[in-house]
Symmetry: C2
Subunit: 148 residues, 2 copies
DNA sequence: CGCTTTTACATGCAATTGCATAGATTTTCT
DNA sequence: AGAAAATCTATGCAATTGCATGTAAAAGCG
């Protein structure tokens, strides 16, 4: 029967997850697709890409990232300078800035994304079978859900 | 029967794991235990703490971290200046630098570690039961193993 | 409605980071 | 052994980051 976890069990599960993430990241970061855009910047484009409305406030975007608010503010500036995103004041809240992908940004995100996904598959497929992938997705999904 | 995973299944599992990690990190980073030492620095002390020999080459240490080699080199400098680690040339390889925890470093790592583990438990326990923790540990462990 | 508090983003500035490279040692190869 | 290649760390330097703070707009409140 599912027992309530001990501190040790939680710590060991987290450590394993963390190490796994570091190991994956170390390999993924070096790949060619992140030559022109590093993972942090790609992550911004990726998050914008899956915005239902097509645009997002900087502050909302920031919730999904590990970087600080000032850092994101400046990254948005740089991405705009590269022509990958557009920034405009939110008409319904003059304080806020809405960011959205330009066509070039969307293209680049997709191009990098395809390579990225291919490499993820290469790294994970030897380790887990189809059922285990589903388990991992479910377990980590539960944690994310519990954090909100 | 365990099927070989599709690209999509791998991508979804990875995305779920990644999001989970970001969510956890965002919460953990802000906590009081990382006021005097940020997570990256703590991670260095943590890795040194579990070195069987008590010390590690910078380059070996670097394998477990996401930061670059020059960045670790300078972080070691700063940690030494804070009296948390010691650095000495590896007698068996004059190029290498062995880093080890000082007593103060070990104490600080343990003190932070206790709080950290407590908070990890607080975040994870509502999400997963004991058996699920074990599953998560095993799945992520398999991935880490496959990466080597 | 005025006044305080909160929220959202930008900016000054010092600290940290990564890239490219150098310096020193070890390893490999012939 | 001797030359060439690989390995390990350090450093110059520009770019990025975070912290503290500033500015402007919105929300809350008596």
């Amino acid at each position: 029967m599912p027992d309530t976890p001990t501190v040790r069990e939680a710590a060991e599960a987290w450590e394993a997850l963390f190490r796994c993430q570091v190991g994956m990241m170390r390999r993924l970061q070096k790949l060619a697709e992140f030559k022109e855009l590093n993972m942090r910047e790609y992550d911004v484009l990726f998050n914008l890409g899956r915005c239902p409305s097509g645009s997002s406030r900087l502050s909302d975007l920031n919730e999904h990232l590990l970087i600080s608010q000032p850092s994101l503010s400046r990254m948005a500036e740089r991405l705009e300078a590269k022509g990958l995103v557009e920034r405009r004041t939110d008409p319904s809240d003059q304080r806020a800035v809405l960011v959205s992908l330009t066509d070039a940004g969307r293209d680049l995100q997709r191009r990098i994304g395809r390579e990225h996904v291919r490499h993820i598959h290469e790294l994970l497929a030897p380790a887990l079978d189809s059922g285990e992938m589903a388990q991992l997705k479910e377990l980590t999904g539960k944690i994310s859900a519990a954090l909100d």
